[in-house]
């Protein structure tokens, strides 16, 4: 019998299914990988399993140890032994390791915390996870890998029987990763069941027993990765000798490029942007972008593919002048060396960015369409700082019409618009800048198919008029369908450079493995 049995789970957001009739099972003491592209439904699944989406907010059900489960909240899930280690760690950085391990679970007498007991138990748990720091160390002093081990210790303290790890190695070094894998295998031997969410095929191959692939919220397949599982469980799994990374990638990307992408042939012109040995460093001097060389010409859409955290957004932030840390290398814009200290300077030079998160980075939500559209170009509609209502209204109405934003007034607050129309407002704001280079970061995320097609059409029109576009996207079919050229980023480096006729499998390979790919 399976330890975890997921039966026909569906979860809807509005009209969109994040998960649709997912069913699969995980054996006792198994390390089971769940993989899929960004947006495949992995996060939603986690949230159902650990009670963030309470019972009744999704269809279908799941059972642990044969008992059907209906979690009302995270606490019930924790009590039942389900623990999640998130990508972004949820430790309180200003508290000690021991305090974090016992957070919300402090042994106390009459409300007074038993400090001694905490430290004794914490010390034991730290030994178990192989972390050699004092329980009194403040978490902020630990590295990311060590913090992750503290998270696992915290989960163990709650007697976790099902441990879910969400992309745990994204921020880890090689040695930290090895250490983590040793620990996970050790936990497996002691009977803990592990769900391991990852894009990284190499890791799945070296760690997991089986892998389940999700795509567009649907269950695609469960494949066996290794022959035997050394656990105390009873389930025997048949070997699958011809498991291959290629096959897995095919399962992940699956679909064919549809008619959605009206690719047109354009004439590419002069070089608009060129990066030479371009690097970006974060505040702890870690390289986020590592010696990137690329160029975009007018009339061209350059697609940038890659996994989340591969440095694509950071690269755009660097180009637009919004990177706060140190930079290295050269940016040539229209063959002139430039260095923008702020997005204001980049915009003044004709570079505009449609950011990946329109609500957080793109829009002033409580303000009107008119307000938002004209935000980057107020100097064009004002003299001595006083706005011209007529000019502003003219530009607003023209842009609303050009992008067919569905609204009945220029004064509608943008927070009342649908995702697609909000995105059009952000794009409109950028187009009013009259950019020579347009940077699009996930331009169609969370947008319905109709608005998507309109945005693709617009992109084609813009490059036909001679604009250069850089499009970052996690949607591989979109990247292939829309781009004239594609570069793939992998851990801050360019790991693939493809002109055309590239397959999704080739891109995925370049995005997940360590080799360089070109065609």
């Amino acid at each position: 019998m399976s330890f975890l049995e997921i039966k026909n789970i569906s979860k809807q957001f509005g009209d969109v299914y994040a998960l649709k009739e997912i069913s699969f099972s995980v054996a006792q003491g198994e390390i089971h990988a769940v993989c899929g592209e960004n947006g495949a439904g992995k996060s939603t699944l986690i949230k159902i399993l650990n009670g963030v989406y309470s019972s009744g907010n999704y269809e279908g059900n799941f059972s642990i140890d044969g008992n059907e489960i209906h979690f009302k909240n995270i606490h019930e899930a924790e009590a039942a032994g389900v623990a999640v280690i998130h990508q972004e760690l949820s430790l309180v950085k200003t508290m000690s390791v021991a305090e974090n391990i016992f957070l919300g679970n402090e042994p106390s007498r009459f409300g007074i915390i038993q400090r001694h007991q905490i430290h004794v138990v914490a010390k034991k748990l730290l030994e178990q996870v192989g972390l050699t720091v004092s329980p009194e160390t403040e978490v902020s002093e630990l590295g990311i890998g060590e913090q992750q081990l503290v998270e696992i210790a915290k989960a163990l303290n709650k007697n976790a029987r099902l441990l879910i790890l969400d992309e745990p190695t994204t921020a880890l070094t090689e040695t930290e990763t090895e250490k983590l894998f040793d620990l996970l295998q050790q936990l497996q031997t002691s009977g803990v069941t592990i769900i391991y969410i990852s894009h990284r095929l190499k890791e799945i191959k070296s760690l997991c027993n089986r892998v389940t692939v999700l795509r567009d919220g649907k269950f695609i397949a469960t494949k066996v990765v290794v022959y035997n599982i050394n656990n105390s469980g009873t389930t025997q799994i048949q070997a699958e000798p011809n498991f291959s990374e290629k096959e897995l990638i095919k399962l992940m990307v699956g679909r064919e490029i549809t008619e959605l992408y009206p690719k047109t042939q354009t004439k590419t012109g002069l070089k608009v942007l060129e990066l030479k040995n371009y690097s970006l460093f974060d505040s702890s001097r870690k390289r986020k972008i590592d010696s990137v060389n690329l160029e975009v010409r007018s009339g061209e859409i350059l697609g940038i593919a890659g996994l989340m955290g591969s440095g694509r957004t950071e690269l755009l932030m660097g180009i637009i002048g919004a990177w706060k840390g140190k930079q290295d290398g050269e940016i040539l814009f229209n063959n002139k060396k430039v260095k923008f200290n702020s997005p204001a300077e980049a915009i003044a030079n004709g570079i505009a960015l449609v950011s990946e998160d329109r609500k957080r980075l793109g829009l002033i939500l409580p303000q009107s369409i008119r307000f938002n559209l004209n935000l980057s170009t107020m100097k064009n509609i004002s003299s001595v700082g006083i706005l011209s209502g007529g000019k502003e209204m003219k530009r607003t109405l023209e842009m609303i019409q050009q992008l067919s934003v569905k609204t009945n007034s220029t004064e509608t607050e943008v927070q009342q618009l649908s995702g697609g129309n909000q995105q059009k407002v952000v794009i409109g704001k950028c187009l009013l800048v009259n950019p020579k280079l347009l940077l699009l970061d996930e331009p169609t995320r969370g947008i319905d198919v109709g608005a998507r097609a309109e945005i693709y059409e617009l992109m084609n029109k813009l490059v036909n008029e001679g604009m250069a576009i850089i499009m970052v996207s996690s949607d591989l079919s979109e990247v292939i369908g829309m781009s004239n050229r594609i570069v793939v980023m992998n851990e801050g480096k360019i790991s693939g450079d493809f002109s055309s006729g590239v397959t999704q499998e080739e891109i995925m390979m370049a995005a997940t493995s360590e080799h360089q790919f070109e065609n």
Binding site: I320, A322, S342, P343, A344, A346, I347, A348, L353, S355, R360, L361, G362, L363, I364, L365, P366, Q367, F371, N374, L375, S376, M378, K379, S382, G385, I386, L387, G389, G390, M393, K394, L397, I400, T407, N408, S409, T410, E411, E413, K429
Partner: protein, 420 residues
Amino acid sequence: MKNNLSFNSTNIRALVMVFALLAICIFFHIATDGIFLSAANITNLVRQSSIVGILAIGMLLVIVSGNIDLSVGSLVGFFGGIASIFFMKIGMSLPVAISITLLFGFVVGCLQGALTAYLRIPAFIVTLGGLLIFRGSIMAIMQGETISVNNEFQIFGSGFLSTKISISIAALAIIFYSFHLFYQRKIKNKFGLKFSAVPVVILKIISFSAFVCFFLWVFTANNVVSEIMPITTPIRVPAESPLAQLHEYQNANHTVTLSATTGIDKAIPVPVIVMLALALIVGFISTRTTFGRRVFAIGGNAEAAYLSGINIKFNTMLVFGLCGLLSAVAGIVYTARLGSAAPDAGAGYELYAIAACVIGGTSLMGGRGTIFGAIIGALIMASLDSGMSILNIEPFYQNIIKGAVLILAVYIDVASKKKN
């Protein structure tokens, strides 16, 4: 595409505030047997509210930008003192003394803004420090003394415009408003937007004119002694209330000072016209200039504003500069009103200014708020003050009630947003 004049949430909020103010007025009018809405008391009330109103105008932009300024009360005392020293002690001419004081106010505001924007010290801390520093400074400078100012200076606080000038201003206001409405209509017509029908425009002009004429009548009716109803019971005001330090309320009898100045041709009080002018100017700045737009964008979503090419630091500094400038104006008006500069003048006013903004629908999260709302907020505060004082409610009850009104106002705002 249709419409533009439908009631959006901002309009509804403004209407709710106006009705709340009216309800308060009517309640007090009945409760005080008709004293509250007498010409004398209305004149007095709007005069009272002008200082907090001026501060609230500056505070509004600071709050909209996502910050707070706790130093404005101390700045009132500081610049009141500075201006009177420049004018009375150093002997500068009045225009020079006032210009320098205002410039000084702007610079001091910018300084606090720079500490907030460029050095990233939270505004709450910078201005809390400012609150102590400026109060301490002016006490040190004035050595605890008060400086009396002469009649020339007092015009800014206690002066009135003559009936002729008042009528001209009122007429101009009505003409300007009518012109504005028709111009809007023309613009909307030009872009094929839905515009109001002529009767609607005319109705608006008539109501605006009625409103202006009513106040004109109220202010001029002050000249007639018989309009004033005597109040014989002593009036109690909380010591830290803006009312307490103004001389009308230092007299036990409400009528004394009000009737004392009759016989002179006086209509609109100078501080009221100062407040209205500033409200108009800053209202224009906040909605019709690039600077105002930027302030709302920064408060609404600083990151998005930055990525849209807005210089957050510089504009944040300017907002504080403007608030400092307006604090200096309030300081001058306050000193003029009292007839002397005292080192403890304006203590606690920052809280009244913040309360006025918040009651007027300003979001402390930033990005939302109107000058109109802030002025209404100041009027609501002043009405509560005045009404309860006439009713002779004990000062501590007055504070309890004002506190409760503040919380209630914000609750109504939060609850109405939830529904949307």
